[in-house]
Every structure is written in C-alpha cells, then in structure tokens.
Symmetry: C2
Subunit: 194 residues, 2 copies
DNA sequence: TATATCATGTAATGCGTTACATGATTTA
DNA sequence: TAAATCATGTAACGCATTACATGATATA
C-alpha cells in the first residue's frame, strides 16, 4: 500500500533538488564532478530513480524548452520536503556507525539547507557519542584477536580503527565550528535588535 | 560464455574459505561477529553466493554428517585459488581510491595468506601513491568550492579529506611494519643458513 | 518440555550496473 | 563536416535484502 522509502540515492537526489531545481543531466554532472559522494553518474541509475520519486509524489517536473535544449527540471513537492526532513533527523543507530558511515556523511552534508544549525548539531552529538562508544569496542577486539591474526589482517583492522578515530576527532571539530557560528549569529542578531 | 567474475562478497568468501575450510554457517557467524567487513550475515546473501561459486567451479563442497549436525564444508578449487590471486594482485585504479576504498581494505586484509609479504607490500605502495595523489586534488577542490558551500557541506568534505589523510598515514605505517618484518625474516633465515 | 542455537536453504522484490539508443547543438 | 557535449531515456541482467521455511540438537 504505502510506497516504500527512497534509497540513499533517492534521498541524495531529494536533497540536491532541494538546494536548487535541477534536471537529470545537472544531477549526473554533479555526481561526476564533485568528490563528496560515491554515487554513479550513469543515466541508468539516475533517470529511473527520478521517475520513481516523481511517481511517489516526492518531486514534480516541468519540461523547459525555451530556445535551449529541451530539459526536464525537477522541484521538491511538500511531501518530498517532509520525507527529506524525517530522513535527515532520523536518530543515529548503532548500525549507522558500524556499516553506513558514508550515509551519515551524506546526510550531514545536506543538513544546513534543510534543518538548520540546531538539527546539524544534534546529529553531530549523536555521531560523536556513537563513535566514542564504538572505538573502544574495536580496540578490545583487536587486543583479543589481533595476536592470532595475520599481519595484513591485523593492519586492516588497525586501519579501520584509525579511520574511526579520525572521524571522531572530526566530529568534535565540527561541533566546535557550529558552536562558534551559533555564537556569531547570536551576537549579530543582538547587534541588529539593539 | 565465460562465467562472470565473482562479486566482492564472492571474493571475500573465497578468501575466507582459503584461510580454512568453512561451512555457510561458519561464514555467516564470521560476518556477524567480526567488525572488519561490512557484509551481511543473512542466509539469503551467503547461501546463493556459495552456490554460484560452486557452480562456476571455484569452490567444492563435501557434506559432513559425522555425529554432529549435517554440515556442508567448502574448499577452494585450484581455479578458485587462481581467481583469488588475480583479484588480490589486480593493479590499483584511480576508481578504487575514489569509490572503493573499503574493497581495497578487504583485499589487503586477505593478502598475507595468499600472496605473501611481497604482494602485500606491492599493494601498499600502490595505495600510498594513489592516496598521495588524490589528497591534494580534494584540497584543491575544497579551496575552489569551499567558500560557496554551506558549513555542513564544507565540513562533510573536510571529513572526507581527513579520512583520506589518515588512510595515507596508515599506509606508510603499514609499509614500515612490512619492511621491518621482512628484515626480521631475512635475519632469521641468515641465522639458520649460517 | 520449551526455548535457543545450529544449519541450510527458497521466494519475492527492488535496485543499480552495463550497455544500448536517440537526437539536438556547439565547437574544431 | 566531424567530433564532442548536451540531454533523456530503455532493456537485460545480476545481486543483495527481507521474509519465509524447515528440522535437528543442546540447554534450561
């Protein structure tokens, strides 16, 4: 009955369309040229995904044909914006930390334009505490099983650990950035209102 | 005509079976309990994958029924071992660095048991130079587009950069470990031969 | 004797990948 | 005028996910 939730690609498309109205080709070019996200820029991925988003009413399209080449431009519908928001503000599960860190990063990258600094800080706090809890688990595993592993196996595990650690450090850095920017905003608005 | 190459899951199964003969259930438990790899432990993923590997002749199975529960135990065939080796020693492409770092890590983790220290060092060198080339690209992108990005977008990009950087640092650390262990082996064998 | 664990599978579904296909418009 | 780029799609295929299904054996 209920249409299923979008995939990660679907959500990314929603977020990018929310930033600005875009065509399928625009989106392909974004995926091809920006280093942030690991999505395929192949038409066979993007056009069907857009079609599905439109069929489920999350986006709407208008064909523009003025002088230029014919172009189908998409915009978010109200329900599309709502879907995007609930995705962005979904609580961080343990699984997100263990197996879908990349998804968390994509989510994070799109937060400002949709849920503002409050929501972004909220996500960062959840990421920070999730990571802070997970790193020691990995270290415990390494201490227990490391000695029995091959050198390459152990080093691969250590690579995972150090990557999580650097992510944890980053999350704290990002929190500081946000708190600084919030103070700045507070200061500026107080200047205005005075 | 030619059977297609295994998927990443298929290669991981090959490598784990190469470490020791294992059953489907053994493999499921490994995926469920070890933190290294992000594979699903669901039977719907593993049993069909094993079936396919057997159909293409890369593994062979024997049903064991002695006293315990009935169990299908898999071993690598010669062609399976060959397939595994060519996968492990495949040259590192730019795409591997940009979009499949996780795969590189999986590959790396399985190298010792199959291609030895020589091959592992080779992979590490390729990873190191690929990463060393890619990090500045990302930094250039950040410098060019960062100012126009939202704070969360920019921070997400910075997170990617710092993660690549920490991976680069790790690759150099891993190289030192291997060179140290190689010297140790050389020393020990020279002691033996003297 | 009821529950958890061992152990192996199948079925429906959906999505992404690769490859194919088309046509208009700049640019060299 | 040939090639590159803009722009949108479809078709075949394979694989993973989720859910379902079964039955034996420890364990409480």
């Amino acid at each position: 009955m209920k249409p299923p939730d979008p995939t990660l690609l679907g959500y990314a498309l929603l977020a990018l369309i929310h930033q600005a109205p875009r065509s399928g080709y625009d989106l392909r070019k974004l995926f091809a040229t920006t280093p942030l996200m690991s999505f395929s820029d192949s038409p066979g991925a993007i056009y069907p995904a857009l079609k599905k988003l439109e069929q489920t009413g999350l986006i709407r399209s208008v064909v523009r044909d003025q002088g230029l080449r014919r172009k189908r431009v998409f915009r978010l519908s109200p329900s599309g914006l709502a879907k995007l928001k609930t995705w962005l503000t979904r609580p961080v599960q343990r699984e997100d930390i263990i197996r879908h860190v990349d998804q968390l990063l994509v989510r994070f990258g799109f937060m400002d334009e949709t849920v503002g600094a409050e929501g972004t800080i909220d996500l960062l706090r959840q990421m920070e505490s999730g990571l802070a809890a997970y790193v020691p688990e990995l270290q415990t595993f390494l201490a227990a099983h490391g000695p029995a592993m091959s050198l390459s196996g152990r080093l691969a595990l250590e690579s995972g650990i150090s990557s999580y650690k650097s992510f944890l450090v980053w999350s704290r850095y990002a929190l500081r950035q946000y708190e600084a920017s919030r103070k700045r905003v507070a200061y500026e608005t107080s200047q205005h209102s005075s």
